[in-house]
């Protein structure tokens, strides 16, 4: 039996476990509103709909392939602190992508996230949640790289606002950070595919190894709504007062079963801005790969995100169980 490593197929395995574009939730703790972030998830547990999230970037494959993702995510609170979300993603691989290098398109595997808010401290604008993300293997199209096995990613999320800094540091109080650390566990460590060598006619076996991956990232954000409502009202135009400049980092590091994938960290840095309204937010970010394995050139991602708890506060915008009384966000306009 001859065993070959399917290096080409393994390129970007880590990235396949964690799509670059994903819809995310939002959260408020005391004075602080944490917007829904575009590249990573935040600690938020809420009723919301991100539709659409559109991203376009060049992959880390060799040769690099231009990829367009269009995704959505619906998140529903079961109780005040527990929510379930579903996120389909449609992918277009431009030539030379796809199995025949002529391009391909189709759905990625469906993703579900179960998230529970563990702790919330309004005084210190701190929140922590835990969650389990499941990528349902076999639910997507193989020609765009959807795996046939499921992946499970237990994750810790946190958010911290700096509003509790002394007033002598007022300039820094609108800053906040969020972060996540997860461990992506593929449902299978490897699988072998039998085939016939066209030259020799011998039977060959190709073994593909699926690494376990540390999924980590964070965001640094400066909240103009916070500046206006809690620090100093500078009399700026409403549009400016609704902006949250943000930088996100989304990384993946293979940590075990790395025979073929190696342990190189891949990921992107995403600078951008989020406009926050009463009923929805709009976010736009650049996608900058951190190394060649993460992609080439600068991509972009944009998202329209609806707060269902505001649009439909008495129906689908409240928890299935519980009183449905929720905290709000610093929003003006729309």
């Amino acid at each position: 039996m001859s065993t070959r490593l399917m290096c080409a197929a393994l390129c970007g395995v880590a990235a396949q476990l964690v799509p670059l574009s994903a819809a995310r939730s939002h959260e408020i703790v005391g004075n602080r509103f944490f917007p829904a972030t575009l590249a990573i998830d935040d600690p938020g547990v809420n009723d919301e709909l991100a539709l659409p999230t559109v991203s376009r970037f060049k992959t880390g494959d060799d040769p690099s392939v231009l990829r367009t993702d269009i995704s959505g995510e619906f998140s529903k609170r079961i109780t005040e602190d527990f929510a379930v979300s579903f996120a389909p993603t449609w992918t277009r691989l431009h030539p030379p992508g796809g199995p025949n290098m002529t391009g391909a398109n189709g759905f990625q595997n469906l993703e579900s996230t179960f998230k529970y808010r563990l702790f919330k401290n309004p005084e210190h604008e701190f929140v922590m949640s835990v969650g389990l993300n499941i990528e349902w293997g076999g639910s997507g199209a193989q020609n765009i790289g959807a795996e046939r096995f499921s992946s499970y990613t237990p994750t810790i999320y946190f958010g911290k606002g700096f509003g509790d800094l002394p007033t002598s540091m007022n300039w820094a109080r609108p800053f906040a950070i969020t972060g996540q650390v997860g461990y992506a566990i593929p449902g299978t460590t490897s699988h072998t595919v039998a085939s016939i060598d066209p030259d020799s006619g011998d039977q060959t076996f190709d073994t593909e190894f699926h690494p376990r991956v540390l999924v980590w990232g964070g965001s640094l954000q400066y909240s103009m709504p916070y500046l206006k409502s809690a620090v100093v009202d500078l009399g700026l135009p409403d549009f400016i007062n609704q902006l949250i400049p943000i930088v996100e980092a989304s990384m993946q590091t293979p940590v075990s079963n790395t025979l073929a994938s190696g342990t190189v960290t891949t990921g992107t840095i995403n600078p951008g801005v989020i406009w926050v309204g009463k009923y929805y937010q709009v976010g736009v970010e650049a996608i900058i790969p951190v190394n060649r394995q993460s992609g080439t050139g600068v991509g972009a991602i944009a998202q329209l995100h609806f707060y269902l708890d505001d649009i439909f506060p008495t129906t689908i915008g409240k928890p299935i169980f519980g009183n449905g009384i929720t905290t709000g966000r610093p929003a003006f306009g729309n």
């Binding site: 659409p52 449609w90 189709g106 620090v231 009202d233 009399g235 009923y279 506060p313 610093p330 929003a331």
Partner: protein, 118 residues
């Protein structure tokens, strides 16, 4: 599924056109303004919110630098406006702490400071 982009565009357009009657009540502006310094001590704090408030569950408290309450009486609510009277304020820094319930039952809270005579 080639119609996927069309479907999500349609749903997004529907939601953008949705006309919700209610939302969270957030601080729009205040008198004295958030973070301001005023030469003359105000005799009341007035807050304007983005939505109508439930009077029974909405309140303001004003504290001086040592933490003592300097507001007097219960806050008065008139739709989106909430007002509380102040005791005579000597020069210093004061913190305004507000908690409100909007008419759609969303709770919000916040705080800010202002200065008198400095």
């Amino acid at each position: 599924m080639k119609h996927f982009p069309i479907i999500i565009a349609t749903v997004s357009a529907f939601l953008l056109q949705a006309a919700p009657a209610l939302a969270h009540a957030m601080l729009d502006h205040a008198s004295p303004p958030v973070g301001s310094s005023v030469a003359k001590a105000p005799n009341a704090i007035v807050l304007w919110f983005t939505e109508s408030l439930e009077p029974a569950f909405s309140q303001i408290e004003v504290r001086n630098a040592s933490g003592a309450v300097v507001s007097s009486g219960k806050a008065q609510v008139n739709r989106t406006q909430m007002r509380v009277s102040l005791n005579p304020l000597p020069p210093g820094t004061y913190q305004v702490i507000w908690r409100v319930l909007s008419v759609d039952t969303h709770r919000t809270q916040g705080n800010f400071s202002f200065r008198v005579g400095q």
